[in-house]
């Protein structure tokens, strides 16, 4: 029976070539546009550290004075001063924790005739590598003891290792930064979380080229490296970052159970109370944000991308309505044919099935063509000068999803016309002839 319906459908579609082409094209364009933007959305809103899903949290306290404070409305700023970052690190019972800021370090290539260049740098504590579960190609991170003794060690990214050492094991070699030799203790395997969650409030670059150097915070500060951001809440000497009344560090903690989260929250609030009692802080607010809340709060997915996605979905809706209209027109035109088939004994279900098969063919073709258009669209996104360009690829899951959406969109579009077709009363149609 299905074979017969397929034959009928193909015959009917061939009879109205232009109309069929228009239906397939409309559906394909709608699917192509919405899948392109949905893929970009999905890529941009992924979990940057999947192996630590639900375990990474970002504590925030508010060092601003009480002026303009509105209880319940004023949100703490995202970054911490050195005093608060270190205070929380000491007070905390977190499983793993790390404080960090971004900077850039000038590197001198070994080869003669090459110009010095800047490497994007993370100044951090030993907990960085464990907390974020970074993969190592060679060697490993540094220790708490090395942090404390301000030893000049560093971890470099795979890309820098390839650039400077041709990808060989460079552990034990040194790089000269700010007039001092830093010994390489580890080389990361390619690792670049997207969005680069820890950078969103530092350099504000969530996508694009990643960091090259990871240096111990205290040693790097001693050697005069600066944070790339300094947001000051009071006047003072801004040239000494450890005592400046400025926010320039972010803190991340790994909390694996809800009990740990509860304890950390309690610790955070008691820390703030204690600091208010000492007169260092004034505002009582503090918050502990999960990774998801953090990404939403910092609008890691650009507004433009969200608006584009909404727009494309609206567009898909228009395309579906349009396809329904065209299918309906096409099927109502065939009332005579339906009447004849019904009079010859075809059941309503048979008519319904016949028209659904026809819609499904339109849907499948529209879906396949839509997929092609989505690939072209993503190719277009990859060639745009936006920071997330290189991420725009269709993964297998999205591919499957696209296909299911395409076919269901077409079946949905076919439902109404098929139903209208099967309720056609045979007698008037035959009489009309």
């Amino acid at each position: 029976m299905l074979k017969y319906y397929l034959q009928l459908a193909l015959l009917s579609l061939r009879q109205h070539r232009v109309l069929t082409a228009l239906m397939v094209l409309t559906l394909a364009v709608g699917i192509g546009a919405s899948m392109t933007t949905l893929t970009v959305m999905r890529v941009l809103s992924g979990d940057p550290v999947p192996s630590r899903q639900g375990q990474l949290f970002h504590p925030e306290v508010d060092p601003w004075p009480m002026d303009r404070y509105v209880a319940g409305q004023t949100q703490p700023p995202p970054n911490l001063s050195y005093a608060d970052a270190m205070g929380l690190m000491h007070a905390s019972r977190a499983t793993q924790q790390v404080t960090l800021t971004t900077s850039r370090a000038k590197l001198l290539p070994h080869a003669n005739g090459e110009h010095p260049f800047f490497a994007d740098t993370v100044m951090t504590t030993h907990g960085f590598f464990g907390t974020f579960d970074t993969p190592f190609e060679y060697g490993g991170g540094w220790s708490q003891a090395q942090d404390d003794s301000r030893e000049r060690v560093m971890v470099i990214a795979d890309a820098l290792n390839r650039k400077l050492f041709g990808g060989t094991n460079s552990v034990g070699k040194s790089l000269r930064v700010a007039g001092h030799d830093y010994r390489i203790v580890g080389v990361l395997a390619p690792w670049d979380p997207q969005p680069r969650f820890y950078d969103l409030t530092l350099r504000g670059r969530g996508y694009g080229a990643g960091d090259m150097l990871y240096m111990p915070l205290e040693a790097a500060l001693d050697d005069g490296l600066h944070s790339s951001t300094m947001n000051c809440y009071d006047s003072g000497d801004f040239s000494k970052p450890r005592v400046a009344p400025c926010m320039w560090l972010t803190l991340w903690v790994r909390l694996t159970s809800s009990a740990q989260q509860r304890d950390y929250r309690a610790m955070l609030h008691s820390y703030v109370k204690q600091q208010i009692a000492m007169g260092r802080l004034h505002r009582p607010d503090a918050r502990l944000m999960s990774m998801r809340q953090w990404l939403d709060d910092r609008q890691a997915v650009p507004d433009d991308v969200r608006v584009q996605t909404g727009m494309a979905l609206g567009f898909l809706l228009i395309c579906i309505v349009n396809t329904i209209g065209l299918l309906l027109a096409k099927c109502l035109r065939r009332s005579r044919e339906i009447g004849t088939r019904r009079a010859l004994g075809a059941s309503r279900a048979a008519i319904f099935a016949q028209f659904m098969v026809e819609s499904a063919i339109v849907g499948l073709s529209g879906g396949v063509l839509g997929l092609v258009l989505a690939e072209i669209g993503l190719w277009g996104v990859r060639h745009q000068p936006v920071s997330y360009a290189s991420l725009a690829h269709l993964d297998p899951l999205m591919f499957a999803f696209t296909f299911v959406v395409a076919v269901s969109a077409a079946l949905l579009a076919g439902l109404l016309p098929a139903w209208r077709a099967c309720v056609v009363a045979p007698a008037p149609q035959l009489k009309a002839g």
């Binding site: 109309l19 228009l22 409309t26 364009v29 709608g30 546009a33 601003w64 004075p65 009480m66 002026d67 303009r68 000038k106 001198l108 110009h115 010095p116 260049f117 800047f118 000051c232 809440y233 009071d234 006047s235 003072g236 000497d237 801004f238 040239s239 000494k240 009344p245 650009p302 507004d303 433009d304 969200r306 608006v307 584009q308 727009m311 494309a312 609206g314 567009f315 809706l317 228009i318 395309c319 309505v321 349009n322 329904i324 209209g325 065209l326 309906l328 027109a329 096409k330 109502l332 035109r333 745009q384 000068p385 936006v386 109404l416 209208r420 002839g433």
Partner: protein, 408 residues
């Protein structure tokens, strides 16, 4: 034209009517918002930076020994002036539309950290060395630019406040601080009780980021004179536009020779500005594309359904023609029918457009849509409908009266 028979006939085809109205409504809603978003971004693209852009090149020098700035910078500038085609050169801490911003808080009365948020507002700071303002090509509205003595001793303190005593201010910002008064000779306060005398008002000089300081603050900018210091990282060079490439190449070579340890890069200002608007241009292209395809799809839908209607009513048209209706009456009939459907869709669509815009303004950084976008969008869709229906309607008007006499 009597619309009663048209309405009666539409009532008999509720489903196609509903679909067509829905499609036009959706298209109207999306179109109005897309055009509104395009317009906002388009107006940003043309923003006046307040400087003479053609012929301006930037050479950025980083990674120097900051302590030697006082000796290095005058020497480097002298070397740059020696390059053929360089008309002027100077150093500055940033340029408009470069996204890299130095911000301070300024007010018209003294303030400190406890009342800063009431008495002061965020302001973008430029610190300009000797020759920088001429090279930028800023335009003075009132007062004077810096004199040589203004630069002497104008360093930067450890709390990042300028040690200068005078300041230039953008016209719009001056109007915000002192509405209806001349800003000349007024005192402007910065954090830490430092204060400066306004000696000149500039035709609006844009901040490095148009939205970085908050809404309507793109011209909240002040300019301090600066003696050579370690915060200077950008050499401004003015030359004839067609010589920029060569001048930049020679400037980079000269600076690299003088400071082999520095990291040096160069760009034309045109490129800086274009880079700032990359995202906006992408968005415009995307919105235009979506709007255009959407209109095409809507037109296709209208053509498809009208053709169906026409072919379904061939006999009815033939009867009308046989009873004396002229071809033009048939044409008018289908045109009027389409207009009625369009009107229904447009009314729904305008309401939806307004609703969507309201939602967008609440959730995203999208400005309110000016009211006249609604009628303009409505007219555009009505015209689109008329254009789309023209073909099928003409075909209908050519149905010969003899059709009425045939049984099939």
């Amino acid at each position: 034209m009597n619309i009663r028979p048209i309405l009666a006939s539409l009532r008999k085809h509720r489903l196609p009517v509903f679909l067509l109205v829905l499609e036009i409504a959706l298209a109207c809603a999306v179109l109005c918002n897309a055009v509104s978003m395009i317009a906002t971004r388009w107006s940003d693209l043309g923003v006046n930076s307040g400087i003479e852009e053609p012929g301006l090149s930037l050479v950025t020098v980083n990674g120097n020994d900051g302590d030697r700035a006082a000796a290095d910078i005058p020497r480097n500038l002298a070397a740059l002036h020696g390059i053929g085609g360089v008309r002027s050169a100077g150093m500055i801490t940033g340029v408009p539309l470069s996204n890299s911003m130095w911000v301070t808080a300024t007010g018209t009365t003294p303030f400190d950290s406890t009342d800063m948020r009431q008495k002061a507002s965020s302001t973008a700071v430029y610190i300009a060395g000797r020759g920088a303002l001429d090279t930028l090509g800023v335009r003075l509205v009132a007062g004077r630019l810096f004199r040589d003595e203004d630069y002497i001793g104008a360093g930067i303190r450890s709390d990042y406040q300028s040690q200068a005593s005078v300041v230039l201010i953008s016209q719009s910002f001056a109007q915000t601080l002192w509405p209806g008064q001349s800003a000349l000779g007024k005192t402007i306060y910065s954090l830490g009780h430092t204060h400066y005398t306004v000696v000149g008002v500039l035709a609006d000089l844009a901040a490095p980021s148009l939205s970085g300081l908050g809404p309507n603050t793109r011209y909240h900018t002040i300019v301090f004179p600066g003696a050579p210091n370690s915060e200077f990282d950008t050499y401004l060079i003015r030359s004839r536009p067609n010589e920029q490439a060569r001048v930049m190449r020679e400037a980079m070579a000269t600076l690299q020779r003088l400071q082999p340890q520095a990291v040096i890069s160069a760009k034309t200002y045109a490129k800086v500005r274009a880079g700032y608007f990359d995202d906006a241009r992408n968005m415009i292209a995307m919105l235009v594309l979506v709007a255009a395809i959407m209109l095409a799809v809507t037109a296709v839908g209208i053509i498809g359904l009208s053709s169906f209607w026409v072919s379904q009513r061939r006999r009815q048209i033939g009867v009308r023609r046989a009873l004396g209706a002229r071809a033009i009456d048939i044409l008018r009939y289908f045109q009027t029918e389409n207009l009625l459907l369009s009107c229904g869709g447009i009314v729904l669509g305008m309401a939806a457009a307004y609703g969507i815009n309201l939602w967008l303004t609440m959730h995203y950084d999208v400005p309110r849509m000016p009211w006249f976008y609604l009628p303009v969008g409505a007219i555009a869709l009505a015209l689109l409908g008329q254009l789309a229906v023209l073909g099928p309607a003409l075909r209908a008007s050519r149905v010969p009266p003899v059709v009425a006499t045939r049984s099939v």
